[in-house]
Amino acid sequence: MNIVDRRLNPKGRSHTNRQRFIRLVREQIKDAVVRSIKERALGDVDTKEVVNIPRKRIQEPRFHHARQGGNREHVHPGNKEFVAGDTLPKPDGGEAGGRSREGSPDGEGEDDFRFTLTRDEYLDILFDELELPNLVKTHLKETVASQPQRAGFTASGSPRNLNLVRTMRHSLARRISLHRPTLDEMAMVTNRIAELEAKEGRTEVEEKKLGELRIVQAQLERRMKRIAFIDPVDLRFNRYEQTPKPNARAVMFCLMDVSGSMSEYMKDLAKRFFLLLHLFLSRKYEHVDVVFIRHTSEAKEVDEETFFRSAETGGTVVSSALAEMKRIIDERYPTDAWNIYAAQASDGDNYPSDSETCTRILRDELLPLCQYFAYIEVVDEREAGMFRSEGNASLLWRDYKTVADLALNFVMKRVFSKSDIFPVFHQLFAKTQKVA
C-alpha cells in the first residue's frame, strides 16, 4: 500500500465552483446588497451582508414523489406497545416525522438559501462597474513609510544580506586566475608520493621522482595557503534601497444645506449619498479625510454627529459653504498632496442675489482644485411629481447647470426617493460616463 500526503496540495479546489455559484446568483446578490443599503439603518453600511437567495433560482429539481397522497407503507424501529390492527392519529398537516414542506403554492416552503458575503465580496459587488474619475493624482506623503527594494549588489554589507551565489562566483574566478591548486591536484600528488613510498626497493629514477614530487607538494601547499578560498574581495551583498511607498490620500467635503426648507426626509436622502461616497472613497484610497460643512445663511465646519443630527433654522446662502470649503482647502489640504472630492446636497433654495457669487466661486476657485464635484438636489417625495421636469428646477439648479455644461468634473443629479440614491450614485461614477 501507499500513503500519499496530500495536505500540501493546493487548497481551494472548490474556489472555481464557488465563483461559478456566485456568478449565477450575482444578480440576486446585487439586489440584496442594493436593497440593504437602502433599507439599513444608517451607520452600519460597512458590515458583512447575509444574502438570501430564493431557492427557486438555484434549485436542482429531480423527479421525486410528493410527500403526500397515495398509499404508503413504512417500517419503523422501536415498537413499544403496538399490536397489529392498532390505529394512530395522523399528525396535523402531514405524515409522521415529516416536516410539511410543501405548504406554499409555489413550493417555496423551504427557507431561502442563506449565505454570508465577506466584507470584501460585499463591497466589490457594491462598487462593481464603478470607478472614480481622475484617479490619477497621487502624491508622496511626507511621512510615508518607505519600503526596501532590491537594487543590485554591493561589496559591503551586513552578513545576513550576503549573496552566496555571487560571492562564490567571484571566489571561483579569482582562484582560477591565480592558479590556486585544486583539491584534486593535491590529492593526485599526495597519492603518487604515497604510492612510491610504499614501494620497496625503489629505483634511482623513482627515488628522484619522489624527491621532485615532494617539492611540488610543498609548493602546492604553500600556494594554497597563500591564495585564500574566499577572500574579502570576493564578498558580495544584496543591496537594498529605501523606496518611498506611494500613498494616495483623499479628502471628501460634504456640503449640506440644513436650513428650514430641508425636511428630515431630504436630509436622510443626502446622508445616504454621503455615506455611499465615503465608503467608496475609503475603498479606493488608503487614507480619506472627511470634512463636513453645513450651512444655512452662514457655513460652519462641524463633526459628523452634528452634521447629520442637529437641526438649524435660518435662510440659505449657498456661497457661504463654498467659501468655507475654499478656506479649508487653502488652510489644510494643498492640492499637490490631496485628492479633493466634494459632494453637495441641497434642496435648491438659495437667495437669488447669491447665484452669481455661487457660480463664480465654484467655477473659478473650487472646480480647478477638485477631482470631482457632485451636486445632488434632493426633492421631497411629495413634490417629486411636480418637480420632475427640469423646467421646474430650482434656482440653484439652473445656476449650476451653466457651470456643469462647461466643466467635466462637475456632475449634478436630482434625487427623489431612497431607491434613487444608488442608481444616481452609479450614474455619477459609472465607468463609461465621462472620462476626464
Binding site: I3, R6, T16, A66, G69, G70, N71, R114
Partner: protein
C-alpha cells in the same frame, strides 16, 4: 496502578502495541496498516483492491465533499452551492466532517483526515480501505456496472472535456446542458443489461428456424377457427419506428442522448458524461445499507482482533467503542433524533445476526434461514452475501425474526383516504413476512424513484416527446419539481414535452406540458 501506565509517550520496547498516543505519524500509519492488512487478508480472507491512503486536511475534505467525494470532477455551480452550504455549516459547528472518503477505483483511494487521532485512523483504514474496498471489488452490481480501473481516467477526461466546451461555447451554454442533465440523473441508469443486438446472420437463422417450426407444427385444424375480431389498426411503420427507438425506454438521459433532434455533438457528449457518472454511482445507491454494514462489520472484527492481539491499548479500544456506538446508534421512531433507519445500524446488526445464525442457530433460524443456519463458516457466508445481493434482496432474504424482534420493527400503512395510520404488522409470528417484505421494498430503488419512461414520440408531426409516470400506490410526483424538470427535458429535446401520470386502470391522473426555453 502500575507506574508505567500513565506515561504513554512512546511505545515501550517489547510492547506489542502499534501506537500509544493519539498522535499519528507516517510510520505508525504504515505499521498499523500492515497489521490490519494481515488480519483482513489472512484471517478474514477479504479480497480488496490494492489501497492508496491519502492524507488530507479538513479544508480539502470540505473540497472533496462538494465534488461528490471524487478527486477530480468537472466544474459546476451546484458543487459551489454545496460547498458554500457545507462550509457555513462546518464553520458554525452545526456539522462535523466525515472521517474518511473512499473511492471505488483501482487502486482504491481512501482519504483520511489529518485531524483524526491514531485510533480513528486505524478504525477508518479498517472500515474503508478493507470493508468498503472488499465490497466494491466483489459485489455483482459494482462488477457489472462500474469500471474501477477506468473511473479516474474517465473523470479526468470529463473534466477536461467540459473545460474545453466551456472555452469554445461559453460557460452558460455548457451550464444549460449540465443543469438539465443533472436534473435527470436519477433517471439516467440502466437497471438491466441490454440485450445485445443480433447480428444479421443470427437474425436470418432465427427466421429460418421459426419458419421451420411453423412448417413442422402446421395443423390444418387451426384454420377452421373463426378469425379474431380485428383490433384497432396499428400502422406498421409507426410501430417499426417505435421499436427502433426502443420504446418504452426508462433511461431518459440515454434516450435523449441518442435521439434528441436538437442536441449538438458536444452537447450530446456532455449528456453522455453525466449519464455515465450517474450509472457509476447507481450501485452505491442500491447497496448503501449493505455496503456500510459490511464495512462496519469488518472494522468491528478487525479492531477487536487488534485488541485481542495486544496491538492496541485499552484506551484506544474505549475510544473506538464510543465512536462505533455513535455510528450504529438507532433511535426509536418516537425519539426526537429519529430520521429513519440508520443504514449503519441495520447493516451492522444484520451482519452480526448472520454471524450468529451461522455459528449458533436456534430452531427458528433453521426454519427461516435453512440454507445458512449452522453452516459454521461465518466469513464465507458473509462474503457470498456481500457478493450477490443488494439492499432489497438482502433484506428479503436474510432479515431474521430475531432481528425484527431485536429492533422491534413494525409496519405502518398510510392511506391517503384513511383518517388514521394503521399498524399493519409487528414483530410477531403473523407479521414477520409482511414486515420483511415492506422493509425490503423500502430499500428497492425501483420503488423509491418514480417509474418514469419515455413512452412515445410524435415522429410524424410535432416531434413531441411523451413521458409516462406510472403511479405506484397512487403516489403522485411533487408537482413543482416535476414541472421544472420537464422544462429541462424540453430544453434537451428541443421540442414540446409532455408528462402523463397514469394511475390504476390506466386513468390519467395528471398531465404536464413544457416547451423548450429559447
Amino acid at each position: 496502578m502500575m507506574a508505567g501506565r500513565s506515561a504513554n509517550t512512546s511505545v515501550q520496547p517489547g510492547s506489542a502495541l502499534l501506537f500509544q498516543t493519539g498522535e499519528w505519524n507516517f510510520d505508525t500509519l504504515k505499521r498499523t496498516f500492515d497489521a490490519i492488512e494481515d488480519i483482513a487478508l489472512n484471517e478474514l480472507k477479504l479480497d480488496p483492491y490494492p489501497v492508496q491512503v491519502e492524507m488530507i486536511s479538513s479544508e480539502q475534505m470540505l473540497d472533496a465533499y462538494s465534488s461528490i467525494g471524487m478527486p477530480v470532477f468537472y466544474h459546476h455551480w451546484s458543487f459551489g452551492k454545496r460547498f458554500t452550504r457545507d462550509e457555513a455549516l462546518y464553520r458554525k459547528g452545526y456539522q462535523g466532517l466525515a472521517y474518511e472518503i473512499v473511492i471505488n477505483s483501482n487502486p482504491c483511494i481512501c482519504y483520511v483526515m489529518e485531524e483524526n487521532t491514531m485510533t480513528m485512523q486505524t478504525l477508518v483504514m479498517a472500515h474503508a480501505a478493507f470493508g468498503h474496498n472488499h465490497f466494491f471489488r466483489n459485489n455483482y452490481l459494482f462488477k457489472e456496472w462500474t469500471d474501477a480501473e477506468g473511473i479516474l481516467d474517465y473523470l479526468n477526461f470529463a473534466k477536461s472535456y467540459v473545460a474545453r466546451c466551456e472555452e469554445q461555447h461559453g460557460i452558460s451554454s455548457v451550464e444549460r446542458v449540465l443543469d438539465a442533465a443533472h436534473a435527470l440523473m436519477d433517471h439516467a441508469v440502466n437497471r438491466y443489461g441490454r440485450r445485445p443486438r443480433l447480428s444479421l446472420a443470427t437474425e436470418k437463422k432465427r427466421a429460418e428456424e421459426r419458419l421451420e417450426h411453423q412448417r413442422q407444427t402446421y395443423n390444418d385444424l387451426w384454420r377452421t377457427l373463426p378469425p379474431k375480431p380485428k383490433r384497432e389498426e396499428v400502422k406498421p411503420e409507426v410501430d417499426m419506428a417505435r421499436k427502433k427507438l426502443g420504446l418504452p425506454e426508462e433511461n431518459l438521459l440515454y434516450f435523449i442522448e441518442k435521439f434528441s433532434p436538437s442536441l449538438k455533438d458536444w452537447e450530446r457528449e456532455l449528456v453522455r458524461i453525466v449519464r455515465n457518472i450517474a450509472q457509476y454511482f447507481y450501485p452505491q445507491k442500491q447497496t448503501k445499507m449493505m455496503n456500510e454494514g459490511c464495512a462496519t462489520y469488518v472494522h468491528y472484527r478487525i479492531m477487536n482482533r487488534l485488541y485481542d492481539l495486544g496491538k492496541i491499548s485499552e484506551g484506544s479500544m474505549l475510544e473506538f467503542l464510543s465512536s462505533h456506538a455513535n455510528v450504529v446508534f438507532q433511535p426509536d421512531f418516537d425519539d426526537r433524533r429519529y430520521s429513519g433507519l440508520n443504514p449503519y445500524a441495520l447493516g451492522f446488526e444484520m451482519m452480526r445476526d448472520i454471524e450468529r445464525v451461522v455459528t449458533d442457530p436456534t430452531d427458528e433460524d433453521r426454519e427461516y434461514l435453512p440454507e445458512i443456519a449452522g453452516n459454521g463458516d461465518v466469513m464465507e457466508t458473509l462474503k457470498t452475501v456481500w457478493a450477490n445481493f443488494r439492499d432489497d434482496s438482502f433484506i428479503a432474504q436474510y432479515l431474521s425474526p430475531t432481528m425484527m424482534r431485536k429492533m422491534r420493527l413494525f409496519k405502518l400503512t398510510d392511506e391517503s383516504e384513511a383518517p388514521h395510520y394503521l399498524v399493519d404488522a409487528i414483530h410477531d409470528e403473523r407479521g414477520y413476512a409482511r414486515v420483511r417484505r415492506a422493509l425490503a421494498r423500502q430499500y428497492d430503488p425501483g420503488e423509491r424513484d418514480p417509474n418514469i419512461q419515455v413512452s412515445d414520440v410524435d415522429l410524424k408531426g410535432s416531434r413531441r416527446l411523451v413521458l409516462t409516470h406510472q403511479l405506484h400506490n397512487d403516489i403522485p410526483l411533487s408537482e413543482d419539481d416535476a414541472r421544472a424538470v420537464l422544462g429541462y427535458v424540453a430544453d434537451l429535446w428541443g421540442y414540446d414535452v409532455q408528462l402523463l401520470g397514469i394511475g390504476t386502470n390506466d386513468v390519467t391522473k395528471y398531465q404536464y406540458d413544457a416547451s423548450p426555453r429559447t
